[in-house]
Subunit: 254 residues, 2 copies
C-alpha cells in the first residue's frame, strides 16, 4: 500500500481554505497569474468566465490526500493551479491502473461527469504532490456553462481529449504487450522531462500500468540489458533514446 493520508471532507477543506473573495477587475490579474497554465481557458475568456474565476476560492491540499473515491459525490469543480492529481481505478485484488493525471491547465473530467450527470462514478483521485486549486461551486459551474462560450469550449475540448486518451489506453491493453507499454510510458516520460532521470519505483510503475511489481522489475532489467536505460533505486536513467524508441515500437521484440 502506498502512503495514503486521511480522506478529507470537501466542506472542511473549503472552510480552511485561504479564501479569495470575488472583487474588482484588478482581481483578474491575480487570477490570471494563478491560471498561467490555462491559456486555453483564459486567453479568450469572456466576461462570464472571468466572473466565475473571480468567485473561485483558492485552496491548498497536502500531498497524498484522497480527493474523491468510489461513489463519492462532488460538489465543486476544481481547476488545478499547482501540483498534480492522479485519477485511477483499483481492483478488488488490490491492483491499480492510472487513468490519467490532472495537471495545471486541466480539469478532472470525472469530476465533470459527476457535476453534469449527478451520479458518482467508482473511481479514485489522489494528490501526488502538495496542490493548489481553484474551487468552483456546482451552481456557479452550471451557470457559467450557460453563459460563457469560452468556458464551454474549454470544457468540451478537455472532455473529448480525455476520451481519445482513454481509447489509447484501451487499445494498449487490448493489443500491446507489457514490455511495449512500459517502453512507451518511459519514452513519453523522458520526452516530457527532456531525458531527465524518471523518479519512480517499480511498484509505482506497476500501479501506473495495471500490472505487478515483479513484472516491471523483470522487464526493466531486460531494457537495462539492451542498454536503453540504467536502473537505480527509485530512479530510471535514460541511456539510449534510440534503442528505447525501437523497443517501444515493437522492434527488437526479443
Amino acid at each position: 500500500m502506498s502512503a495514503i493520508s486521511s480522506l478529507v471532507d470537501h466542506e472542511q477543506i473549503l472552510d480552511s481554505a485561504q479564501a479569495c473573495p470575488a472583487e474588482s477587475a484588478s482581481q483578474n490579474l491575480h487570477i490570471k497569474a494563478l491560471l498561467s497554465k490555462y491559456p486555453a481557458l483564459t486567453e479568450d475568456a469572456d466576461a462570464a468566465c472571468w466572473n466565475m474565476l473571480n468567485q473561485a476560492k483558492l485552496m491548498t491540499v497536502p500531498a497524498d490526500t484522497v480527493l474523491f473515491h468510489e461513489a463519492m459525490e462532488c460538489k465543486h469543480l476544481m481547476l488545478i493551479v499547482k501540483g498534480q492529481v492522479r485519477v485511477y481505478k483499483d481492483s478488488p485484488e488490490g491492483r491499480e491502473v492510472t487513468l490519467y493525471r490532472v495537471e495545471p491547465g486541466q480539469l478532472c473530467v470525472h469530476n465533470l461527469n459527476n457535476l453534469v450527470n449527478g451520479l458518482a462514478y467508482p473511481i479514485m483521485a489522489q494528490t501526488e504532490t502538495d496542490m493548489q486549486g481553484l474551487v468552483i461551486p456546482r451552481p456557479i459551474f452550471h451557470k457559467t456553462l450557460e453563459e460563457s462560450a469560452s468556458f464551454r469550449t474549454y470544457v468540451l475540448r478537455t472532455l473529448t481529449e480525455r476520451l481519445s486518451h482513454m481509447v489509447d489506453l484501451v487499445s494498449g491493453f487490448a493489443f500491446d504487450r507489457l514490455d511495449l507499454r512500459i517502453a512507451c510510458w518511459l519514452n513519453h516520460e523522458f520526452e516530457k522531462g527532456c531525458g531527465k532521470p524518471i523518479k519512480i519505483t517499480h511498484s509505482e510503475l506497476a500501479q501506473e500500468l495495471g500490472t505487478t511489481r515483479e513484472m516491471v522489475s523483470r522487464i526493466l532489467k531486460e531494457f537495462e540489458h539492451k542498454r536503453c536505460v540504467q536502473l537505480a533505486r527509485g530512479k530510471i536513467h535514460l541511456q539510449c533514446r534510440h534503442t528505447l524508441k525501437l523497443v517501444s515500437q515493437g522492434q527488437g521484440k526479443k
Copy 2:
C-alpha cells in the same frame, strides 16, 4: 474478415440522401417522430435546438458501410434514427475491439471529438445494419452549441457517459479474465434481449472483446459444460441465467 462494402464519401452520401428541407413548425412533428428514441434531446428542446433539427437532412446508409476510419475528418454530426453503428479500434495484427455502439438516441462522440477539436482520431466506425440518420452540418452544430442550452446538456451528458463506459472497458482489460469479460458481455446482451438467443458468431464476439476466435470458442464451450448457455451455429441460447450470473461475477472460477 467480415463483409465490408466500399468506403463511402460523405459528400456523396449527402447528395444522394432523401433531403428534408427546413420548413414550417409542422415539420417538428415529423422530426419528433424520427427522434422518438431521443427523449433526452427532444423533451426539453428549446427553439434553437428545434431549428437545428429542422435543418438536418435525413439520410440512409446501407449495412456494412464504413462511416469514418483512421485519420478521416468528419464534416457533420449524425444523430442516428434507425439502425446501429459500431465504433471500434483495430490493431496492425488484424485484431479488433469494439469501443461502443451508437444506437438511436445516441451520437458518436468521436464524431464529436472531431467536430470540437478539429483533429481526426484513428478509429473506425461502420454501420452494422441499414441505417437512417439525421445529418447536421458542422457550422450548424457549432451554432447550436452556442445557442441551445438543451442541446449542450445533451452533448455533455453523452460525452461524460461514454467516458464512464470507457473506464469500465479499461478496468475490464486491466483486471478481469477473459471468461469473466465474456460472461459479462453475454449477461448484458441477454438482459437487453430479455433472454432471447444472441445472434453472433464466435469470431464476431472475439472482435467485440479484442481477442481471438479460438479463445471465444474454448470459453463458450466451458460455459456450455457449466450449463449456462447452449451453443448453435451463429447463435447463443441462454440456459440458466443464474449460473451465468455467478460465472460473470467470478464465482465458480474453475
